[in-house]
Symmetry: C2
Subunit: 202 residues, 2 copies
């Protein structure tokens, strides 16, 4: 069977990554999503196994020692990790899987799985990014400034990614991301099975 | 300005290549088509400059000597060539251009322009290819057999291409080809301009 592929998706907070991915999964329910394992407390509206697996610090460290994370990070006293097994199982089963992760995490995963295809989602400008964060209405002006500074740092690393999608129009950005996934499945090495079948008749 | 790209499209006679390309150009009128220069006589229904430039043998040889062909071929006493200048001008102007060509021509062009992206269009099976050729009704059973033999030889070289599109459903095949072109424009090196613009603000 033809192997699946890991797609790494990054982009600064406010670039529209979550909305783009939600739309993509509606169109492509066959694509899997990598669920992170984290030790922070569950927030209102969150559900176990939806976007995160919630575990204790002890459980996390046990998994870490067992080599169960493709990458992990400690942030404000909590651990965040990308489980290795589900990604490897998906790929072996010929399924594509998307991992949404920050630029540092992406670099770590890429170093372990260089065949992963990575996509950076950008806002059309820093001004537009700030407007989007303001529209959310969940952050103070100071927090928005700090997020914009973070975004600038992240965007300087867009060059590390295979593809760059600019989100100036939601549907266009979803079409863009969908085209990256679709075309990747048409690459010669991913069409070996059908090629072999037809060539058998030759 | 960001450079355009040359896309090489090949596939055996009867694979549906012409229909797929016609549909693609309806959707993407911005994409150019490389017009071949040939010395054979114009056939009924053909127009100068549509699919071919018709020139005399003398003109062809003059152009050949001037290095004006990316590749050329002699077949049953006629010359067929791919003009170099229009391809180079398109790419320099940031336009994408499609070259429809056989496997031998594709190999010659690829050796001169290794950055070209190549796509092989396959029928879903040899049996289906024969059915399609029969449905055309323009060839004798013997000619169909000979085309099928040719197709087999060509299909063995599908492995030389970057992407393989199987034409078992016309719209799906057009979507496939369109996704290859769209995603290629999202590659990091083709997004340099927008990346620079946004990063200037960082």
């Amino acid at each position: 069977m033809c192997k699946g592929r890991l797609f790494i998706v990054s982009g600064p907070s406010g670039c529209g990554k979550d909305t783009i991915l939600s739309e993509l999964f509606l169109r492509r329910p066959d694509i899997r999503f990598s669920i992170s394992t984290i030790t922070r407390a569950m927030r209102q509206g969150e559900r176990e196994g939806q976007k995160y697996h919630f575990v204790s610090r002890e459980e996390f460290l046990k998994l870490l020692e067992a080599g169960e994370f493709l990458e992990y990070n400690e942030f404000v006293g909590n651990y965040y990790g990308t489980p290795r097994t589900p990604v490897e199982v998906c790929i072996a089963n010929g399924e594509d899987i998307i991992l949404e992760i920050d630029v540092n995490g992406a670099a770590k995963v890429r170093s372990q799985m260089p065949e992963a295809v990575s996509i950076f989602i950008m806002p059309p400008s820093i001004a537009e990014l700030k407007r989007r964060l303001e529209r959310r209405g969940t952050e103070t002006p100071q927090q928005i400034e700090s997020r914009a500074e973070c975004a600038k740092k992240e965007m300087k690393r867009a060059i590390e990614y295979d593809y760059i999608v600019v989100n100036d129009d939601l549907q266009k950005a979803v079409d863009d991301l969908a085209s990256v996934l679709r075309s990747d499945g048409l690459k010669r090495d991913r069409q070996e099975q059908i090629l072999d079948e037809v060539l058998k008749q030759c």
